[in-house]
């Protein structure tokens, strides 16, 4: 990027590689066999909805787009950071069809000009003890990282129950899945997704 590009702000649009999503089914098998984590069947796509529009409108618009392409039914949920999560459910849990659905949601949003506002996609897993883990797909980087809320956060001296992540398990998952998925190397990009649907 030259000086003029820098001053005039002409950064090239990112070309995301959504095909990386298709590594998820094999990653799900690895998680099942090595860690006993089963897919919950819930997946979601996060983006920033333009201001001045209600969730219902966004959901209706996206649903309309998906129906045109024969896509799945979605539900829109807002979070405290100002992002909208479009939730897709499969029952019984089926990672392959979930991935196809997530791919369809991402492509529809991308094709209708929401590409720059797309943040990530999330697929969640749970083990028999109820411990939950998520695999987050970073749309712009085309990489994955694990997000595991800690099951034993405890309380601080002032009695608050802080939100904590199980960093060690996250690192284990990264090392475990490195053959199935392109994992994000820069851990500063592993942002928390507290309260994301399915976690």
């Amino acid at each position: 990027m030259g000086l003029f590009d820098s001053l005039l702000g002409r950064s090239k649009p990112v070309r995301p590689d959504l095909d990386n999503l298709f590594g998820l089914p094999s990653a799900a098998i690895t998680l099942e066999t090595s860690m006993g984590l089963h897919p919950t069947g819930t997946g979601s796509v996060a983006f920033r909805a333009p201001e001045g529009r209600a969730f219902a409108d966004v959901q209706a618009e996206v649903q309309q787009l998906l129906d045109l392409g024969g896509g799945p039914a979605v539900e829109a949920v807002g979070d405290e950071y100002g992002y909208t999560w479009l939730v897709v459910r499969t029952d019984p849990p089926d990672v392959s069809s979930l991935v196809t659905d997530l791919h369809a949601v991402n492509t529809s949003l991308q094709d209708s000009g929401f590409g720059p506002t797309l943040l990530c996609s999330l697929v969640s897993f749970v083990d028999d003890a109820g411990r939950r883990a998520g695999l987050v797909y970073l749309y712009k980087q085309g990489t994955f990282y694990p997000f595991v809320p800690s099951t034993a956060p405890g309380t601080t001296i002032t009695g608050e129950a802080p939100l904590r992540r199980d960093n060690l398990l996250e690192i284990q998952l990264r090392d475990l899945l490195v053959n199935d998925l392109r994992m994000e190397k820069d851990t500063s990009r592993w942002f928390a997704v507290w309260g994301a649907p399915g976690l």
């Binding site: 590009d5 820098s6 702000g9 990112v14 920033r48 333009p50 201001e51 950071y81 943040l119 928390a192």
Partner: protein, 285 residues
Amino acid sequence: MGDRTASRYGDDPVLTRATRRAVVSVVGAVVLLVVGLSVAVSLVSFKFGTFAFKAVGATHGWILLLPLAIAVLWLTRAIRRATRGDRLGSDAHELDVDHPLRVSLARLAALADVPVPPLRVVDSQRPNSYVVVEEDGTQTLCVTSSALEACTQAELDAMLAHELFHVAHGDARLTSRLEAMAELADTRVSVLSGWIVPAVRGLMRQRELSADRAAALLTSRPSDLDSAVRTCTRAVHPGPPDLRLVTAVPFVEASSGERPGWCTHPSVDERADSLARVAAQLGQR
């Protein structure tokens, strides 16, 4: 310059034209400053060594270029000195890894596809945010403690996105270089500062408008950025300005009472106009 249509978002012709004008006038200002400095050097050398200068100049014509070389050296030294970087004081502290502000920043960086810059909170009475170039060259994003108190999460998000633009484009470095130039003009050839300072500040104001626009598009919420600007400017009360902010592209003007053409930041109304264009563009999608 590559493909002209390869902008990530739609174009804002008004902003592009104004930025191009500002760049041209800064380039003009650099030329003017170099000429001004060499004239100053020539005047001084003629005063003290008219005879020697003339005698040598007759046989060695190139010596007449010496003032120009000295002027260029002078300018580059001033600029290099300005880019040595700052050290953040002990009042700058880090936030907890899972603090909402850090999570927000990581998300915005993921949206913008840029590395996540370090984030510090600096104790200050004025709500503001800025980018500091540290001695090792790291660009650190700073938010003042009173901004954390005065602004809502959405407003802070907009401020972070604005600063993220400055980090991604290295504006803090650009600004400190331009300011060094303006200061050199102001102290050495003050006749010219009436042209050079407004040119430099004009480009700085354009950078702010560009950052506003990028932040509004990144967050998809122009009105959050507008209310952040208003919250921060409303709460700016008279008092000694934070000197760190002079070269650090703050979110809102660090001091008040500058002459109109000498402001480092566009007015609240000017910023609102530019944001309204973004809102209109977002509405069309």
